[in-house]
């Protein structure tokens, strides 16, 4: 039994584990204390002071997020003194803040704004000392506007603790303190991975995604353009929140209907190309294993997954010497783009120059990825515009669509069918699970030896997960794998990826295959998903993903009929000539410092 501490908050008795803060205790007593710098994903900062409370018998107010609960404490969260202090703090924050809320991208979804609303701060109490900051729009993914920054440092802690990237740091001091990149360089120059976790952790509009909503409306309204759209697996489990519904439900059918109502000419599914990825990436892994074990060749193993563009840019900066270990497969987004502009365009008799591929992603790094110079394998820009789940939600609202009442519809053929394996790409461990479902069956002709195909060791929110699968009863052509113990690892959040990458760099990795997703929880909590994000929400979205997988008849990528057809009609075979041309890519060494 953990040691418990008993205290009273607003005369309500509450008992919490020793080491809990006053804020934790208040939460347990269902009392809300406002916070700004606090975020449950991050370490305690205690710098904004807006969570102050009064303790009986103590003169100074205490920051509840940073003060441990103690035995017999009597805390009051709503005294005049507390309210006045909070009002002063919010007023001072606003005096340095760009208060042009009506034109702000975060209007209506800003923690500072909502606090100002609750506390009715006088507008003329403090003079504005807002400085003239230049907005950094250099990155294709993220806009940084220091005039809206309240220096709570949630972004800095996110970049350091969750991602171990440290592209953002606190510079200067006192009134000169700000959140900086190295030497105030533009965001597109520094080691930023574009993961967007700073965006989902920013309480204000200081860090937001670069939005392409108007560009997408423009092409939708251009009759000369054939506009196709793809949606990533995680979008359907985040979209509900983006249009004001509760977390934890998947809305594939309504989402497809909404896309058709917005005017897209064809609605495809990135789940389809996720299935395709499994065929390509699984075959790549088996080829590497064969070269290593049977042909005794010196090949790069373990193989890293390559679906997460935040992870790709991270490894390019941080571990440029081990890029050979990355699967050469493009991400599902970048596989669908060139297939739409070649295979689909040809079958429909559409000139690819008149085609626009829009993709809707839970991710800000995908915006960067679509702009990479390698991503023109169709002869055109493979994916023209990338918008986040949040931007998509806004388009639905602009269009006046009552999302909740929509009927379900299905994606268009031939890049629209998917299996459960494609769906689970959205959660950490999902790519691994999907790959194992297919690879094991290719090798042995039998289903992966887990009940109901659920590879449970790679599921869940633990930072690094491992599994070992003994391969037995191989088919003749895979005999070299007989009795091999396939060792796999899964990490999410780049700070969890680092030790696995370091092992590879030092030649000490015990694994054959490693899945990395840049964002904690995987794409379901990507930098483009609705806010707020915390582990409770991550769990709900993950559950929705696995429920969708379970509800589908086809749950193995190699059983996807459209994937089979595209190999028969067009691609010939995994890792074939056409695949190499359209579905595989190369990586770039980047500077770490």
């Amino acid at each position: 039994m953990p040691e418990m501490v008993n205290l009273k908050i607003n005369d309500i008795s509450v008992s919490v584990e020793a080491g809990s803060t006053i804020l934790d205790a208040a939460k347990k007593a269902n009392i809300k204390i406002p916070t700004l710098c606090h975020h449950e994903d991050l370490c305690i900062a205690g710098n904004c002071r807006v969570c102050v409370v009064e303790q009986k018998g103590v003169n100074a107010l205490k920051a509840s997020c940073a003060t441990p609960a103690e035995e017999n404490m009597e805390i009051f969260t709503n005294t005049n003194k507390v309210r006045e202090a909070r009002k002063t703090i919010i007023g001072l924050l606003l005096s340095e803040h760009n208060n042009d809320c009506l034109h702000c991208y975060k209007n209506g979804n800003c923690e500072l704004q909502s606090m100002a609303k609750d506390y009715l701060v006088d507008s003329d109490k403090y003079i504005s000392i807002l400085k003239n900051y230049e907005i950094d729009r250099s990155s294709p993914s993220i806009i940084k506007d220091d005039s809206k920054c309240i220096r709570c440092q949630r972004c800095v802690r996110t970049c350091a603790e969750l991602q171990d990237v440290n592209a953002l740091a606190v510079s200067g001091k006192g009134s000169e303190m700000k959140i900086s990149t190295f030497m105030e360089k533009p965001m597109d120059y520094v080691v930023c991975t574009n993961c967007g976790q700073c965006v989902t952790h920013c309480p204000t509009g200081a860090l937001v995604e670069k939005n392409y909503i108007d560009e997408v409306w423009d092409v939708l309204n251009d009759p000369s353009k054939h506009v196709v759209v793809q949606t990533a697996p995680a979008v359907r489990v985040g979209l509900g929140e983006a249009v004001g519904l509760d977390a934890g439900k998947s809305y594939t059918g309504k989402m497809v209907t909404a896309l058709k109502m917005l005017g897209f000419d064809a609605v495809f599914d990135t789940n389809f190309s996720a299935d395709l990825t499994i065929l390509e990436e699984g075959t790549e892994l088996l080829t590497r294993l064969k070269d290593k074990i049977e042909n005794k060749k010196d090949v790069a193993l373990p193989q890293f997954t390559s679906c997460s563009p935040g992870w790709i840019k991270y490894i390019e900066h941080e571990f440029p010497d081990i890029l050979d270990y990355l699967s050469t497969c493009k991400s599902p987004q970048q596989m669908l783009g060139p297939l739409a502009k070649t295979y689909y365009a040809k079958s429909m008799g559409i000139d690819p120059k008149d085609m626009v591929v829009v993709s809707i992603m839970p991710c800000t790094a995908k915006k960067f990825e679509a702009n990479r110079p390698e991503m023109y394998s169709s002869g055109y820009k493979d994916v023209d515009y990338v918008i986040t789940t949040r931007e998509f939600g806004r388009m639905i609202q602009q269009a006046g669509i009552d999302f909740e009442t929509l009927k379900d519809s299905e994606c268009d053929s031939i890049l629209g069918k998917h299996t459960g394996a494609g769906v689970i790409f959205g959660a950490t461990g999902g790519v691994m699970e999907a790959a194992l479902r297919t690879a094991y069956e290719i090798i042995t002709g039998r289903e992966v030896p887990f009940s109901n195909l659920e590879v449970t060791p790679v599921r869940g929110l633990e930072g690094v997960k491992e599994a070992t699968i003994k391969i037995e009863g191989c088919k003749a052509e895979w005999k070299f794998l007989e009795n091999v113990e396939l060792k796999v690892a899964v990490a999410h959040g780049l700070s969890n990826a680092r030790p696995l990458a370091a092992q590879v760099q030092n030649g000490e990795s015990p694994y054959h295959f490693i899945e990395i997703m840049a964002c904690p929880g995987g794409c379901i909590a990507g930098g483009g998903q609705p806010m707020p994000v915390n582990n409770n929400i991550r769990k709900k979205r993950t559950e929705a993903i696995y429920n969708e997988d379970e509800s589908l008849q086809l749950r193995k990528s190699h059983e996807n009929p459209e994937v089979k057809r595209i190999y028969e009609d067009f691609l010939e075979k995994p890792l074939g000539h056409k695949s190499h041309e359209l579905l595989h890519t190369t990586y770039t060494k980047r500077k770490k410092y």
């Binding site: 440290n166 740091a169 510079s171 001091k173 030497m183 410092y593």
Partner: protein, 152 residues
């Protein structure tokens, strides 16, 4: 290649643990007058820190400039006692003599002026440092004389 050794030597002397970062930064400033972009990157590499983090540490301290400094660096205390005892006269004298305000370097590159926080001379305010040598009980007139000395 002697240039790269400045950082390597400093690291050899002070170590590469996180707590050695400050002495290494100070050492480079002592030798080169400021912390250039290249030096900050070299230091980040030595300490296996992000360059943004090293930049963040350096910019917190007035004594760790990240912009090139003039031959002589004047640091005028701006904290409350010096402010009350006539810091403005000190800055006026420097402005009249060198035509610079805090944050600037004179056109001939001979002097840089910084406004810094308390330098521990409150009892002798106002005070300033020139190349880390303290000057106390300053007036407009004696600041003019001090600058004359450095100019001659």
């Amino acid at each position: 290649m002697t240039e790269i050794n400045i950082v390597k030597d400093a690291v050899k002397k002070h170590g590469r643990k996180r707590e050695s970062l400050m002495p290494v930064l100070q050492e480079i400033v002592k030798q080169e007058n400021y912390l250039s972009e290249e030096r900050l990157m070299e230091i980040a590499k030595e300490f296996d820190l992000s360059s943004a983090e090293v930049y963040g540490v350096a910019t917190f301290y007035s004594f760790l400039p990240v912009k090139p400094m003039g031959e002589n660096v004047i640091k005028v205390c701006q904290t409350i006692v010096c402010d009350m005892k006539g810091k403005e006269a000190v800055l006026d004298a420097i402005k009249d003599k060198l035509n610079i305000v805090p944050g600037q370097t004179s056109a001939d590159g001979k002097f840089s002026l910084m406004a810094v926080n308390c330098i521990g001379q409150c009892s002798n305010a106002p005070a300033m440092l020139v190349n880390d040598k303290p000057y106390i009980n300053l007036t407009y007139e004696n600041v003019v004389k001090i600058i004359d000395e450095y100019q001659s």
